[in-house]
Amino acid sequence: MSGPIHIRKDETFTLNVGPQHPATHGVLRVKMEMDGEYIVKAETVLGYIHRMHELMGENRTYPQVLPNLSRLDYLGAMGYTHGHVLAIERAAGIEVPERAEYIRAIMVELNRISSHLFWFGAFVMDLGGFTPLMYAIQDREHILDLMEAVTGSRLTYCYFRFGGLYNDVDDDFINATRAVIPMLRKSLKKYDALVTGNIIFRKRLEDIGPISAEMCRKYGATGPVARGAGLDFDVRKNEPYSVYPEFDFDIPVYHECDSLARYKVRMDEMEQSLRIIEQGLDKLPDGPIMPKKKPKLIKPPVGDYYQAVETARGSFGIRIVSDGTKNAYRFKLRSPTYSNMSLFDEACEGMMIMDALAMMGSLDLVIPEIDR
C-alpha cells in the first residue's frame, strides 16, 4: 500500500507504539508520526532491557559467560551458545569430538524449530488469529520436553561447553526425537492448511512490507529476512561450521520480498531442520563428548577472532579480542535482529499501521536479543 498522497505536516500526530504494546513482543518502542492510519515517519527507540552483556563478557572468565549467551535470545538460545563455544574453540584451538558436534547440531536444529514454531504462533497472533499460537505451543512443548530431558532446562540451556557438551544424550532421547519428527511434519501440514492457505492471511501479507535485496545489503539484514528477499544466504552453507557440511539440506529462498515470503522461508526451514535432525540421528557417531585434553583454564592467545553462526533469526556474530588472559579483552555480540530491525524505520514509511505491525512480526523480533 502506498502512503497518503498528500501529507500536511501540521495534521500529523505522534503515536507511541510501545514500550508496552501487544505487537512489539516485549519492551520495544516505535515513535510513529502518523497521518491518520498511515505512517509518515518512524523512529525506533531501543534499550529498555539493555543489560550490557558485552561488559559482562569482559568482566567474567570465559566459562562464566556461558549462561549469558542463552539470555540473549530466550527462544533460540542454543544457536547463540553454539556461536560462543565455537568462537572460543577457534580462538583457543580446542578440538571438539565428532559426537559432540553432531549432538550440538541436532540440538541447535531442534531449538530452531521450537523458535520458529513460537514465532509462527506469535506472528499469527499479531494478525489477530489466536488459535495457531496454541497449536504451535503444543508442538513446541514436545521439543522442549526432549531438550529438557537432555539439558535439564527448558529455555536457557547452557548446555554446550568449550570442547564439548555438558552431558551426553541417551537412547531415550534418540527414540523420542525420532517419534517427534513425523508428528511435527503432520503439524506443519496442518499449519499449512489452517494458516498459509487462508485467504485473509494471504491478503494481509502479500505485497506487504517489501524489503528488497539491496535494502538488506545496506542494512545488513540476514536470516529469513534476507532469504525472503531472494538472497541465498545462510551461514550454515556460506561459511560452513561445525558438522553442517556433512548434512544434506536446502536453503529455502523466496524472491517476493514481502512478508509472506519471510513467513514461507521460516515454515520451509522447519522442514529442513527436521531433515538435518534425521540425518544427525542416523549419523550420530559413538565416542566421547568432551576432548581428552582440555586446558584447565581457557586463555586464548592474543588476537582477534570472529565466529558467525546461523541462528533462528539470522547470522549471529561473536568477536573476541583476547589479550591472553582468562577474561576477554573485548566481547562483541553481533545480533541478527538488531540489523534486521534497523531497516524497519525506513521500510514502514508510508505503510498503514496494521501492515507495518504485520511486517514487524515477520521480522521475528526478540527484544532481549536486540538490546543485549
Binding site: L15, G128, G129, I353
Partner: protein, 328 residues
C-alpha cells in the same frame, strides 16, 4: 395493539434480563469454546464447568473503580457504554421468539432493528472520541467506516427478502417461511435462486456489524491495544462487553428470522421457541468458531470486501429476485 405501562415494564425487564444473562453466559461459552478449539479446558475453577465464572467476572467489574482519563470528554465518555448496551436491549423488544412470545410486534420491525444497530456505531465513535486516546480515535474511525459500509449490503439483502414476503413485520416474515425446511429463505427457490449467497452475505455482514473477528477492527488488540475501549475499565468496559454479546444474539436472531424460518420446526419435536433458541445458539457457536479460527482482516481488505464483492453481488441478487418475482 396498545401497550400498557405494565406490559412495557415487563417487556423491558425481560429483555434486559435476557440480554444480560446471554451476555454473561456467552462470555463463558466463548471462553469454553475457545478452550476446546485450542485443546485446553477454559475456565473450570469457579463452580462446575466454570459456570460461576460470569458472576465472578461481573462482581469484579462492578467493584472496580471507574476511571475517567484526564482530558477526556466526561459526558461522552460516560454516555458511550450506555449507548452500546441500550439499543441492543431495545432491539430485543421487537424480536419474536415464537408466535406468542414477543414483547411488541411492529410492522416495521426490521427497520427498527437496523435503526438501533446504527446507534451501536455511534457508541463506538463516542467512546473513541471521548476517551482522548489516539488508539481509541483510530479505532472508532475504523469502526464507523466499517459499520457504514456493511449496512449497505445487509440492507440490500433484507430488501430482497422483504420484497419476497411483502412485509417488514418480523412475525409475518417468519410466517411466510412456515411449512417445512424447503420454505425457508435459505433454500433457493424459483423466484430467488441466489438465496444461499444472500445468506452468506448477510452472515458476513452481521459478523462485521457486531465487530466480531475476523472483522474486529474496532478493537484490533494486536495493533490498537484495545481499540475504542482502551481507556475503559470497570463497568464501562462491562457494558461494552455486554453490548457486544447482546448484539451477537440480535444478529443471530435476525439471521434465524430472515433465513432459517424463525421458530419454524423442521421436525416438530418440541415447541417453536426452543427451535428458535437452538438455531440462534448454533449460529452463535459458529460465530465463536469463526472467531477462533481466522486472523483479522485489514481495514482496506474489509472495505474492499464490502464495496467490491458484497454490494455488487447483493445488488445483482436484488435485481434478479425482483425480475423473477415479476415473471413468476
Amino acid at each position: 395493539m396498545s401497550l400498557t405501562i405494565l406490559n412495557a415494564v415487563v417487556a423491558v425487564v425481560a429483555a434486559i434480563a435476557f440480554a444480560a444473562a446471554n451476555a454473561a453466559y456467552l462470555v463463558w461459552a466463548e471462553r469454553r469454546g475457545a478452550g476446546r478449539i485450542q485443546r485446553r479446558p477454559g475456565p473450570n475453577v469457579n463452580g462446575p464447568l466454570g459456570l460461576l465464572q460470569p458472576p465472578c467476572d461481573g462482581i469484579k467489574l462492578m467493584t472496580k473503580q471507574l476511571m475517567i482519563p484526564g482530558g477526556a470528554d466526561k459526558a461522552l465518555f460516560m454516555v458511550a457504554p450506555v449507548l452500546a448496551m441500550a439499543p441492543a436491549i431495545m432491539s430485543f423488544v421487537t424480536i419474536p421468539f415464537s408466535e406468542t412470545i414477543v414483547a411488541h410486534s411492529m410492522n416495521v420491525g426490521v427497520l427498527m432493528i437496523f435503526a438501533f444497530a446504527s446507534l451501536g456505531g455511534m457508541s463506538i465513535l463516542l467512546a473513541g472520541w471521548g476517551s482522548r486516546n489516539k488508539y481509541g480515535v483510530m479505532a472508532s474511525v475504523r469502526a464507523v467506516s466499517q459499520n457504514i459500509s456493511y449496512e449497505v449490503p445487509m440492507l440490500i439483502t433484507v430488501i430482497t427478502i422483504v420484497m419476497m414476503a411483502g412485509t417488514m413485520n418480523l412475525k409475518e416474515l417468519v410466517a411466510a417461511q412456515a411449512g417445512g425446511i424447503w420454505n425457508w429463505n435459505l433454500i433457493p427457490s424459483l423466484s430467488s435462486p441466489l438465496m444461499p449467497v444472500s445468506f452468506l452475505i448477510f452472515f458476513i455482514c452481521s459478523l462485521a456489524e457486531t465487530n466480531r473477528a475476523p472483522f474486529d477492527l474496532g478493537e484490533a488488540e494486536s495493533e490498537l491495544v484495545a481499540g475504542f475501549h482502551t481507556e475503559y475499565g470497570s463497568m464501562g468496559f462491562g457494558l461494552f462487553f455486554m453490548g457486544e454479546y447482546a448484539n451477537i444474539v440480535i444478529g443471530a436472531s435476525l439471521i434465524t428470522i430472515l433465513f432459517l424460518g424463525g421458530w419454524d420446526c423442521p421436525l416438530g419435536l418440541f415447541p417453536g421457541v426452543w427451535w428458535f433458541l437452538l438455531k440462534i445458539y448454533m449460529l452463535i457457536f459458529s460465530f465463536i468458531w469463526i472467531r477462533w479460527t481466522f486472523p483479522r482482516t485489514t481495514i482496506y481488505g474489509l472495505l474492499n470486501l464490502s464495496w467490491k464483492i458484497l454490494i455488487p453481488i447483493s445488488l445483482f441478487n436484488l435485481l434478479l429476485t425482483a425480475g423473477l418475482l415479476k415473471v413468476f
